[in-house]
Amino acid sequence: MQLTKSSRLTLPRRSLTRTNPRLIFAAGTVAAFVAIPLIYIFVRAAEADLAAWERLLQARLWLLMGNTLTLVLAVTAGALLTGTGMAWLTERTDLPGRKVFRWMLALPLAIPPYIGAIVHLTLLRPRGGLIPLALEALFGRPVPLPAPVGFWGATFVLTLFTFPYVYLLAGAAFRSLHANLEEASRTLGRTPWQTFWGVTLPAMQPGLMAGTLLVALDILAEYGTVALLRYETFSSAIFIQLSGRYDRSAASILSGVLVCIAVFFLWLELRFRGRARFTQMESSWRPAPLTLLGYWRLPALLTVLLVVSASLLVPLAALLTWSIQALQDSQTLTGAFRTGSQGFGNYVWNSLWTATLAAAIAVLLSLPIAIYSVRHAGRSSLIISRLCQVGYAIPGVVIALSLVMLINRGLPFLYATSFVIVIAYVLRHMPQAVRSSESAFHQLSPAIEDAARTLGRTPLQTFFQVTLRLILPGLLAGGALVFLTSLKELPATLLLRPAGFDTLAVRAWIWATDGYYLQAAPAALLLVLAAILPLSFLLRREKVFR
């Protein structure tokens, strides 16, 4: 089965019959580079002595697994509901202000969840939160409010800042879905409601599932939010083992289990993503008619406003207000403009250069993978391409653990240099670059390259004069994605950074965990603003965001 499938792929897409051995070598090297940390974690977990396993199995492991999986389940359900609902309202109904809301519902991706958690915690904390204080002043007595901590707090915050993954994929699915499909269902006697549940949603299912599983992988990797809101998951437990107790054996075991769960989700995601390709637009595509909301316009509008406020407007407004307040404080102000390793300029610079370098390296490394897997599709190239996806399944804390152990053993000269952070970003975010590069190559007909060859260009000339020119937008998109996610990365940066090396994310986090919420605001705001730039570049690649 697998053989016939891959051999059918071999025929049409190949441009030159013999694969250049140098290309295979380059692709294989990259895949090995990406896969080593993962394999090393399993090796260390297997090496750990039985006593350590027993200790963990008796007490922590099951608790952590229960905690982690219930959080994943709750957040993915929330994100699926919010994302699909919001996408339906902005793509398929006459909701007023759809065009603006499309942007506002996608932009929370620029806000790292832990920053969102800081904002909501500052506002809603039972003791000392700004809203409880204001209410107490207003009514003269404390008003009981739900506190954004623990399981429900983490679910609330993580849903708010991860649902855009589902929203974007569901929106694209709603847009690309053939109107004929729904019309056919209506002519076969189904009501609009039956059509939505029986035809529209099932047709979108692969895209929705892929988005949901990306959220699940994100939750598995999330450290900052759960640590701040005091809900223990695998990621936060590993972080504590690593930074506090420094028990690498226990950390390796926990990491091994966590990565197993993540690899399972990734495997599911790859399966659904493969199927999602079949729902692409055809040439006869035309948009589906809009549903008229009628009396429901106001409730729908209020719901969207509520989501947009909680996930974007309130965090941005709060960060802006606190930044202004913080800068009025003379001590913070001088801190902001101090030069040297403790100044704001330095945090910005560190954030930018690490993320940019990681993006450049990831895109460069993704090229041989994409060429090999798209232009020489077959079994071995598929395996290599899939190996390069494992970064999605290795949470930042696990990458950090693996790198610390590997560098101690093999590359001590890299120990405690900022370059290790860049390596971690590349390993973790490589899949995004590989996916973007692969889809760029998929859109380029091999006949175009063949044409350049028959017109007298060598393979290298063809690559630089034709191929590169045409895939550049796709490569830039991959780079922007890696830049964006590297900018937001927290746990690996915290664990791997050399002493005194601060990025915006690290600074915002440290100040916030130390309780200096106001002081954290300018760093957090700058981080969000820096993340909005690549995000809006990515969104603008889709026609509806122009």
Partner: protein, 345 residues
């Protein structure tokens, strides 16, 4: 003079049972247009790509003007072959204008020479007004002409065309292929082109090579191929023959529709098949006939009738466009051909 010499060319893909190209040998004369024709998947496009250098042959020899391009020990990459290729989907560079597309193959020449050649090509394909357009701003026929001009501009020793008209609408196709044939003949270019459309092959080709299952069944002029198909497949593919069983008797073959008086040397007394095209067969209404009229297809200038003989054998016959006979009537079918018919054993 022979331009291209292909000897025993073979290419096998790992995934298929028989070779995609199986022991193909052919020669192309200077200035000749050769059409490779056959059903899809017959190996004609792979043959073209092997000649262009976009595929490596497993065995065989390709020589152009006496120079070896591919053999068991040599492989000249496509960029050093001097062979032009027009792609099925045209493969115009989307980031370059019409002018830049045509100039792409001329990059080793002086700018003044490039300008001269490009404007000559633009004139040749009648695209002077659209030189600064981008491919997405062109119609299908215009893209086709740019693709041709781009391939011709470097003055290739040999031009290959891969289903060049398949992406065009039916009415445009006839017009464009007349233009293209005129341009190619005026430049005296040696051409191999691939098509699955027999009518196009008959129109465009000085000679035809008919392919099936990676093998070349027959090569010859359109008349040779049409009049004396070498195999049953060629007779069926070119000119849509029906095959009527017959028994060798003295003086000809006894068939269901009567004696075919034609002596062809055949092996013993085994039954044969006579290839009949619609213009070789006629019928008249007759209650005591040997067939029933099953269907009538109105073809504009003619009516094509499908007839089922009492044995179940199906034959086709054409009559004038004004002769309309109701379906379901019985008819007497007979052979009217005044030329020898092909007999296959």
């Amino acid at each position: 003079m022979t331009t291209l010499d292909v000897q025993h060319l073979t290419r096998q893909f790992i995934s298929t049972h028989y070779p995609a190209v199986n022991d193909i040998s052919l020669q192309l004369e200077d200035g000749e247009i050769l059409a490779l024709v056959g059903p899809s998947g017959c190996g004609k496009t792979t043959t073209l790509r092997l000649i262009a250098g976009l595929e490596h042959p497993d065995s065989g020899l390709i020589c152009l003007n006496g120079k070896t391009l591919a053999s068991d020990v040599e492989f000249i990459p496509p960029e050093r072959r001097g062979i032009g290729l027009v792609f099925q989907d045209h493969a115009l560079f989307p980031h370059l204008t019409v002018y830049e597309n045509i100039a792409f193959g001329l990059y080793r020449q002086k700018p003044s020479a490039v300008r001269g050649t490009v404007s000559e090509m633009l004139r040749l394909v009648d695209m002077e007004m659209l030189a600064n357009r981008y491919p997405y701003e062109l119609s299908g026929g215009e893209r086709q002409r740019v693709a041709l001009a781009r391939a011709l501009a470097p003055r290739p020793l040999l031009l290959l065309l891969d289903e060049p008209f398949s992406s065009l609408d039916a009415d445009l196709r006839v017009e464009v292929r007349e233009q293209v044939r005129g341009i190619l003949k005026s430049m005296h270019t040696s051409v191999i082109f691939v098509t699955h459309d027999q009518e196009e092959a008959l129109y465009m080709g000085d000679r035809l090579a008919v392919f099936q299952h990676g093998r070349m069944e027959q090569i010859g002029t359109p008349e040779q191929i049409f009049h004396s198909p070498a195999t049953r497949f060629v007779a069926e593919f070119i000119g849509a023959s029906d095959f009527l069983p017959g028994l060798p008797v003295s003086g000809g073959f006894q068939t269901e529709v009567g004696l075919l008086s034609q002596t062809v040397p055949v092996n013993g007394s085994k039954s044969v098949e006579v290839a009949l095209r619609a213009d070789d067969v006629d019928f008249e209404l007759s209650d005591s006939g040997n067939a029933i009229i099953v269907e009538r297809f109105f073809r504009g200038p003619a009516n094509l009738y499908r007839l089922r003989l009492d044995s179940g054998q199906v034959l086709h016959a054409i009559k004038d466009h004004t002769v309309i006979i109701p379906v379901g009537e019985r008819a007497r079918v007979y052979i009217t051909a005044r030329h020898p018919l092909m007999v296959f054993q």
